[in-house]
Amino acid sequence: MTDALSAAVSIGFHGLAFAMVLYLISVGLSVTMGMMGFVNLAHGVFAMLGGYIVTSLINRHGVPFGLALVAAAVLTALGSIIIERLLYRRLYSGDELDQVLLTMGLIFMSLAAATYIWGAMPQPMHLPRWLSGEVDLGFRSFPAFRSFLILCGAALVTALWLGLERTRFGVRIRAAVDNLRMAQSVGINTSRLFTLTFALGSGLAGLGGGLGADLLAISPSYALDNLVYFLIVVAVGGLGSIRGPFVAALLIGVADTGFKYLLPELGAFIIYLLTMAILLWRPRGLFGRA
């Protein structure tokens, strides 16, 4: 393979892996923000929690990788239900400022709690034997874990999209995102729907956090450090949209990887400038509702 083509393939591959992680984490945020209009800055906390659960189970208790991922998703989903019932539900009709402050407060609390439980250092990710090393595809080889990440992500995304199109639950979600009042008047229990959707989104975020532990390091300040990227994916993709954030995640994943490789001095600049330009052109995001 020529150098340029090889570089392009590398960037595409790693960019896609990064995009998968970003999407899995952010899709829940997009749907819940679109449905309830709730500015949830603390969404990254669930991804962080998933990451901590996966790394703790693997590193300290030798739990098999797959099981750890499932545990992360389930426990995060359950935790999110508690937070939603206890706190978020009071602020749905509230001020934007209230929502920003509440979720900021939760981020701060999670930062301290994570430091207390797991310490300030980033958690190392000990990959299981079968996922370390490389996968040889003939023309070149790829890191096994990232390949697994891409395949896993693709499977989850497909399941998600199919689920939203084909199941009754999915139809209800799309109806509520489209027009909440109308959905209520048609008899959908939006309060319960929201809790379930929120749990699903948070569970996915936990899964994404765990899967992406070597891309986005698991440390106490995770929710703060990565907030901008999660919000960019949602804002650029379009609130309430399910495909929009995927496109946005792809753009950001590939662009970020590409620029880090080709123009490291520019760092994330181009992404931020691009975000501002896109939001200026389309304030509701690329696929947001008019």
């Binding site: 934007e96 400022l97 981020i107 804002a235 609130l239 600049f269 931020y272 939001l279």
Partner: protein, 331 residues
């Protein structure tokens, strides 16, 4: 008068309601309290003057955020952008041979105002989440820029080697923080006076209209974008002044000055006191910083837990901060 046809003449001149309304801007004796307290602190706590100076400068930062958030209703997560710009401007000048404090201060304000007007032009076209995002992206952009330009800014390690000259060539910045305290006091006082005038002016009243119902503001013919841009720029200048003050009085500027953390905590300090009341900053900032100072001797990182919890509790039950509580007790 334009509504002549509807008005029965001669009734309303000088009645109680209009008089009370017209006198809202008059100084109330309680408004002397912050200044009296500051002077008392200067005299009674001579060993805490450096902290005192920082508190005064941070009050200015929170006051600038109040103008934008409490009065114009613009929810921003990136106000540290202006604070940091002012700090780095003053700091870089002082670290590269120009340590004159007053001009450094003004340079900081000017730089921040410039960032304010340019970013405001882009950011203030939107509303809701898009606006919040844009403010966050601007601040993150600047943070990244400061990180990359480490030869000028010192990057991760922070700006080193600031040399601030004596004020007017006479008042040296001493180890006890006396000069710093008075310096910050005077700057805060002047800015407070300006902010107070703005808030009570017809312009300031129109900002509250923009906050309460922007749709209605458009319908009465107000140039909404222009007004928001003006207050955003003024607020940026004040935040820049605050940043420059901290830089000059502590001799250090770091990337944290531009961080999301900094933007978030200024909101928190403001909320504790109460938003949109002009004096929320004067209550919230000292409470926060003194509590943090005491706490940091015990267990610094757990401070975040308690402050986060306080935020959650304030939002859920004590919305309006201390001012809100006082209002409720009055009724």
């Amino acid at each position: 008068m334009a509504t002549e046809g509807l008005v029965r003449p001669g009734i309303s001149a000088g009645n109680g309601a209009t008089l009370a309304f017209a006198r809202r801007h008059r100084l109330h004796p309680l408004e002397a309290l912050p200044w009296v307290t500051a002077i008392a602190a200067f005299l009674l706590f001579p060993t805490y003057l450096p902290l005192g100076a920082q508190i005064l400068a941070t009050i200015l930062f929170a006051l600038s955020a109040d103008l934008v958030l409490g009065y114009a209703g613009i929810v921003t997560l990136g106000h540290a952008a202006f604070f940091g710009t002012g700090a780095y401007t003053a700091g870089i000048l002082a670290a590269n041979g120009w340590g004159e404090p007053i001009s450094g201060l003004l340079a900081g304000a000017l730089a921040s105002a410039a960032i304010g007007v340019v970013s405001g032009f882009i950011v203030l076209r939107t509303s809701g989440l898009a606006l919040l995002m844009q403010t966050l992206v601007v601040a993150t952009l600047l943070h990244e820029a400061a990180n990359r330009a480490s030869s000028i800014t010192g990057g991760d390690d922070g700006l080193q080697g600031m040399q601030v000259w004596p004020i007017f060539g006479v008042f040296r910045f001493d180890l006890f923080g006396r000069t710093a305290f008075i310096y910050c006091f005077v700057v805060l006082f002047l800015c407070w006076w300006l902010a107070r005038r703005i808030v009570h002016s017809p312009f300031g009243r129109s900002l509250t209209g923009i906050r309460e119902n922007v749709l209605r503001m458009h319908a009465i013919g107000a140039p909404v974008m222009r007004r928001r841009l003006v207050i955003y720029t003024i607020s940026a200048a004040f935040a820049g002044l605050a940043g420059a003050l901290i830089a000059q009085t502590t001799g250090f500027v770091g990337l944290g000055f531009l961080s999301l953390d900094r933007s978030g905590t200024v909101l928190i300090m403001l909320i504790i006191g109460g938003v949109g009341r002009l004096y929320g900053a004067f209550i919230g900032v000292p409470l926060y910083m003194i509590a943090q100072d005491r706490f940091s001797e015990v267990a610094p990182v757990y401070w975040y837990f308690w402050i986060g919890l306080l935020m959650v509790l304030v939002v859920v039950s004590a919305r309006g901060g201390i001012f809100g509580l006082v209002d409720r007790l009055r009724r």
